[in-house]
Symmetry: C2
Subunit: 204 residues, 2 copies
DNA sequence: GCCGTTACCGTACAACTGTGTTAAAAAGAG
DNA sequence: CTCTTTTTAACACAGTTGTACGGTAACGGC
């Protein structure tokens, strides 16, 4: 057997390089060559680990988004409370560098993906996943029983979740594209304000 | 004097061609050549009307977004009412083809613009303009005096406007990138639900 | 020692890009 | 018709892109 290399780690390194390129120069600057240079390898090395460029960015985007579920699970484990509900939602907002990179890469990838095949599934999965997090957050915030499955839908919660979902993505977009205006504190404040509006209403 | 051509109309034709390319194949497919082909001219013709590619997309994006203010003014002229407030906001959502194209082009242009100079001003202008529309809409919805100027800020309205602004951009993003899930009717319903939540709260 | 498999590199090529230059066509004014 | 300016085309050039191919270096088992 020849030298054995940790495939996953190698690919993660390259994905991290792509992330850095996207963050610094935007998705338009991503190419096999630029990513390879950023990672410190030759373009052929990158080509060795990924069959083509599309697979490269697919993998990198997937890996980038893959860290969020772990954070969500961790917060979820803390048990339901209002603080917890807000904390849950904040995991999906660009409030620190890690989450900012996630959102940035995702937003940069979503638009081109609209015309690439093989990304549609990821896109809609992301949508339903986010929606379900919103459902859970609304339920926890309003002190209701959490939704048992992705399929189970309670109408009142569902409407609030749809609003929250759009609000969340809007805040993410603002945080990434208008960092001066939408600072982490302001984003948090807007989310807080909206959540408190929900509770005020539900007390009627 | 040799043949005189309506410069503005010519440039608008080219901008429209760019719009079509963006809509069909995404911003990544935009080049002097592809736009020229779409418009039915030679690349040199396009180059004759725009000094370089950056100016081309700058102009096309500006022209695309330039149609919204007219719509907003028209709605604003109808005088304040709740229906009117919702209608105002709906002018900034991808509810028909015209508005869908606007949002699509804008979203496709915003991300690359983050790393191009000369677009920052447009970006922040868009932000404050949208925020002000939200302020006005909240004021009209809650039957308050409309804000006199962009500078005048009422705290209670301002917080609601910030939420509404993020919600609006989130809904726009959903409508463009998840057209199956976020249909015009659902987008309208979400907006409606949020606005009614505001009024419920304000009646306390 | 050797060998075979794996990892990586350098180069090459065709396609595309933006952007100049150069020249032809078109059309109103005289 | 001719002249003059605008409009369009054709071409060229350098740069970048994705991807394929041939070769080299490393390493584990014998």
């Amino acid at each position: 057997m020849p030298r054995l290399i940790d495939h996953d780690q190698r690919r993660n390194e390259i994905a991290a390089a792509l992330r850095r390129v996207v963050l610094r120069e935007g998705m338009a600057a991503v190419s096999v060559r630029t990513v390879a240079a950023e990672a410190g390898w030759s373009p052929s090395a990158v080509r060795h680990w990924f069959p083509d460029q599309a697979a490269l960015v697919r993998f990198a985007v997937a890996r980038t988004m893959a860290e969020a579920p772990a954070r969500l699970r961790e917060v979820l484990a803390a048990g339901p409370s209002r603080e917890n509900a807000q904390l849950l939602l904040e995991q999906l907002l660009p409030l620190d560098d890690v989450r900012r990179v996630e959102m940035h890469v995702w937003l940069a990838a979503v638009d081109p993906a609209r015309h690439d095949d093989g990304f549609d599934e990821t896109r809609s999965q992301m949508f339903v996943a986010l929606r379900h997090v919103c459902r859970t957050a609304v339920a926890r915030w309003c002190d209701l029983a959490p939704p048992a499955s992705v399929g189970e839908v309670v109408d009142a919660v569902e409407q609030d979740a749809a609003v929250l979902h759009a609000l969340l993505d809007g805040l993410a977009l603002h945080g990434v594209h208008y960092p001066e205006e939408a600072t982490p504190e302001r984003i948090r404040a807007v989310l807080r304000h909206h959540l408190e509006a929900i509770s005020t209403r539900s007390r009627l």
